[in-house]
Subunit: 381 residues, 2 copies
C-alpha cells in the first residue's frame, strides 16, 4: 500500500519500500521563504535565529549574544533584538544548542514503578533539584523489566542526556555496564554502588529491616512473616537480612522468619500474600512487608477475613507512603527519606556532570531509615 502511494508522483520511484516520511520536508519552500518574507505571514515556518537577525538588522552572532550574554550588547541593539524576538515569537532550538554542546540539558530518571508513591517522591526531589539547575527531567518507568530498562538506557544515550538517575531493574548490572560505554554519568538510586566507580544514594535497608522486626519482637511477637518481593532486588534481600539480624539479637532462630514470596510489589500481590498468610499453620502473629503496597494489600485481605489488626496480627510496612498513614488502620512503616534521596541523587549527578577537569570523586551516600509506629502494630495482644 505504501508503494502505491509512492508511485504516483512524477519521478520513477525505485521499487524499494522506502520508509520516508515527508520525503521533501521543505527544502524548496524553506529556501523560498528565507529569501524575503519579512512582512508576509505565508507558509510561516517557525522563526530561527537568522530570521530574528534579519528582522533586527544585526548578525546572528549578536542575537546569540543578546540571549546568552546580554551585558555584552549595547542596550539599544539589545532592545531591537528583543523586539524582533518578541514579534516573531522566536524560541531558540534546544537541538541546535545540544548539537554544539554535545549533550542535552535533560536529566533522566528511571524508576522501578511509577505506581509506587515512593518513587513519585523520589522523582519530586530529583525534579526540584534539576529544575533549580535549569535542567529538565525525563521520568521513565522500567516496570522492573531489564528489557525495558535496556531500551530506555538506549534512548537516553541517543538523547545524550546530561545524566541518568537509575534504580536498576537488572540485578546483573549488565545494562549499566553497557551504558557506561557512552560516558554519560549516572547515579544509582536506592541501591548501593557495587564498586567505587559510581555515585549512589541509598537507604540502609538492613537497618530498616532490623528496625521493623525489632519493633515487632519487642512487642512480644515470637514469629514474624516476611512478605517479600522479587528475589533479585537488593532492597528485598537487605531487608530480610536486617530482619534476620533482629531475630538473632533476640535469641531467635532464622526459622522464626516465615517468608511469603511475591512476584510483584503492588497491592494486588499483597492481597494474595495476605491470603497465603491466613493459610499458614501455625499462623504468625506479626507480618513485615517489603513495602507499603504489599502491606496495604495484606491489611485488606486480613480485614476481609475478619482478622483484627493489630490484635490478631500486627503489620509493619516499608516506605511510609502517604497512603500508609491514610489506611483504615494506619500502618506502622519504615520511612525512607524519598524526596531527600531524589534531591541528593540529582545533586551528585549535577556535580559529576559539571565536572570538567576530572576532579569528581564518586560517593556513596547512605541515608538512615526511621520507624514510624502507628496503629497497625501498636497494641500487642
Amino acid at each position: 500500500m505504501g508503494e502505491g502511494r509512492l508511485g504516483e508522483p512524477g519521478p520513477p520511484v525505485r521499487g524499494r519500500p522506502v520508509p520516508q516520511r515527508r520525503p521533501y520536508d521543505g527544502d524548496t519552500p524553506r529556501t523560498g521563504a528565507a529569501e524575503g518574507i519579512s512582512g508576509a505571514g505565508q507558509v510561516a515556518r517557525v522563526a530561527g535565529i537568522k530570521d530574528v537577525a534579519r528582522q533586527a538588522g544585526v548578525s546572528v552572532g549578536t542575537v546569540s549574544n543578546v540571549i546568552n550574554r546580554p551585558e555584552a550588547v549595547l542596550p539599544e541593539t539589545r532592545a531591537r533584538v528583543l523586539a524582533a524576538i518578541e514579534e516573531l515569537g522566536y524560541v531558540r532550538s534546544e537541538s541546535a544548542r545540544q548539537l554544539r554542546a554535545g549533550r542535552s540539558r535533560i536529566m533522566a530518571l528511571l524508576v522501578l514503578d511509577m505506581g509506587n508513591p515512593f518513587f513519585v517522591d523520589v522523582a519530586r526531589g530529583a525534579e526540584r533539584a534539576a529544575r533549580a539547575a535549569g535542567l529538565g527531567v525525563m521520568v521513565c518507568n522500567s516496570d522492573q523489566s531489564p528489557a525495558e530498562e535496556a531500551e530506555y538506557l538506549g534512548l537516553f544515550a541517543e538523547q545524550r542526556v546530561c545524566g541518568v538517575l537509575v534504580t536498576p531493574a537488572d540485578a546483573s548490572g549488565r545494562n549499566l555496564e553497557a551504558f557506561a560505554r557512552h560516558r554519560i554519568p549516572y547515579v544509582l538510586v536506592d541501591r548501593v554502588a557495587p564498586g567505587t566507580g559510581t555515585c549512589a544514594v541509598s537507604v540502609d535497608d538492613v537497618r530498616g529491616g532490623a528496625l521493623a522486626v525489632g519493633h515487632l519482637l519487642s512487642a512480644g511477637h515470637r514469629s514474624v512473616a516476611y512478605v517479600s518481593g522479587p528475589g533479585d532486588l537488593h532492597q528485598i534481600r537487605d531487608r530480610r537480612e536486617g530482619a534476620l539480624a533482629a531475630l538473632a539479637d533476640a535469641g531467635l532462630p532464622p526459622e522464626a522468619l516465615v517468608e511469603i514470596p511475591s512476584e510483584r510489589l503492588d497491592v494486588a500481590a499483597g492481597r494474595d500474600a495476605g491470603a497465603r498468610l491466613l493459610g499458614l499453620v501455625p499462623r504468625p502473629t506479626a507480618v513485615f512487608c517489603a513495602n507499603d503496597l504489599l502491606a496495604l494489600g495484606v491489611l485488606q485481605a486480613l480485614y476481609a477475613a475478619g482478622v483484627r489488626v493489630p490484635q490478631d496480627i500486627a503489620i509493619v510496612g516499608y516506605d511510609d507512603i502517604e497512603f500508609a498513614a491514610a489506611a483504615a488502620v494506619p500502618l506502622t512503616s519504615v520511612r525512607q527519606p524519598a524526596v531527600v534521596m531524589g534531591r541528593l541523587a540529582a545533586e551528585l549527578l549535577l556535580e559529576e556532570s559539571d565536572d570538567e577537569d576530572g576532579t569528581h570523586e564518586h560517593r556513596s551516600v547512605v541515608l538512615q531509615p526511621e520507624l514510624v509506629v502507628r496503629a497497625s502494630s501498636s497494641t500487642p495482644r
Copy 2:
C-alpha cells in the same frame, strides 16, 4: 570568583562576568583527535557518524543508509558498517537528527499532580502508546500551578517536542494560547476542548457527579456534602453540576448539597475537610468527594473520630484509584478510564503530529465514567 578562574588561561579575557561553562569545550582536542586516532584510545570523544564511516571505509551517507534504510545497502557493506558501529560503540545523536527534522521524537505529558495515581495511570497509557510509535515520553508535573505550567510549556517549545498532552492548570487558557504560537500540536487531557481548534480527551464529569450523588440519594440520603477542590478546575465544577442535577432529579433543592471547599486535592486536605464535615450542623449523612485522595482523607478523619462508615456517614470518591479499593472501608468511587484516556490522547496527538497535508480534524473524545459501589456506601442506615 568566576572571573578569577577565567583569568588564568592565556588570552586576555574581557572583564565581563561571562557565564560560560567549559569555555573552550574541545575544539582543539577534537580537531586533533579527528585527524587520526583510529586505533589509539586517547581523549576518546564519543564516536560520531564520521568516525564510523572512516572505520568502515565508506562515506557518511552510506552509514546513514545502513541505519535508516538497510535494504538499500549491499549486505557486505552493511556488515562492515555494522561492525564499525559495534566496535566504536556508536550511538546516533538525536539532537543532530532533530535539528534536521525540525522536531524531536519526544512527546511531553504535563499533569496536575503526579502524587495522584489517577495521573500515573494516564501517564502509563500515554507512555505505552508513545513507545509503540517509537517516541519517548517526558512526564512533568505542573502541581496545579499556572506558573509552573508556563515554564514547562516554554521548555517544551525549546525542545521542539513533537507534541504535548496537557491537563491545564491555568483555567484562563492563556498559557495554552501563548503556546499555540509555536505550532506544536497539543491534546487536552481530562478537559473538554474550549473550541474546535484542539483535540481533547475527557470523561463526562457531569455524569460522574450525577452517578455518585444519584447513588447516594437512591440509598435514602436527603442531604449530601460535596468536598470540592480549587474552584477554577473544570472537573470540580462539572462534578458539582452533576451532583446538583441528581438532586434536582430527586426533587431536592440545591441547598441539599453542602459544599466543603478545599484548596488542594490530596489526602491531607481530605483530613481537614473531614474535620470540617464533623462540625456541620445538621451533619450530612453522606459525602461526595471530588477525588479519592480527598475521600481517603475524609474516611480517616471520620474513622479517627469514631464515626462509622457507612452506617453514620456514607462516602463516595472519584477516580477509583487502586488505593480506593484497598482502603480500610473499601471506597465507592466513580471510575475513570485513566489508562484508556492516556492512550487515546497520545494516539490523537500522534495523528495530529503526523499530519502533513492538513487532513487532520480536531476531535473531542468524551469517555463515560462508571460507578463502582463498595462498602463505603453500600449499607444505608
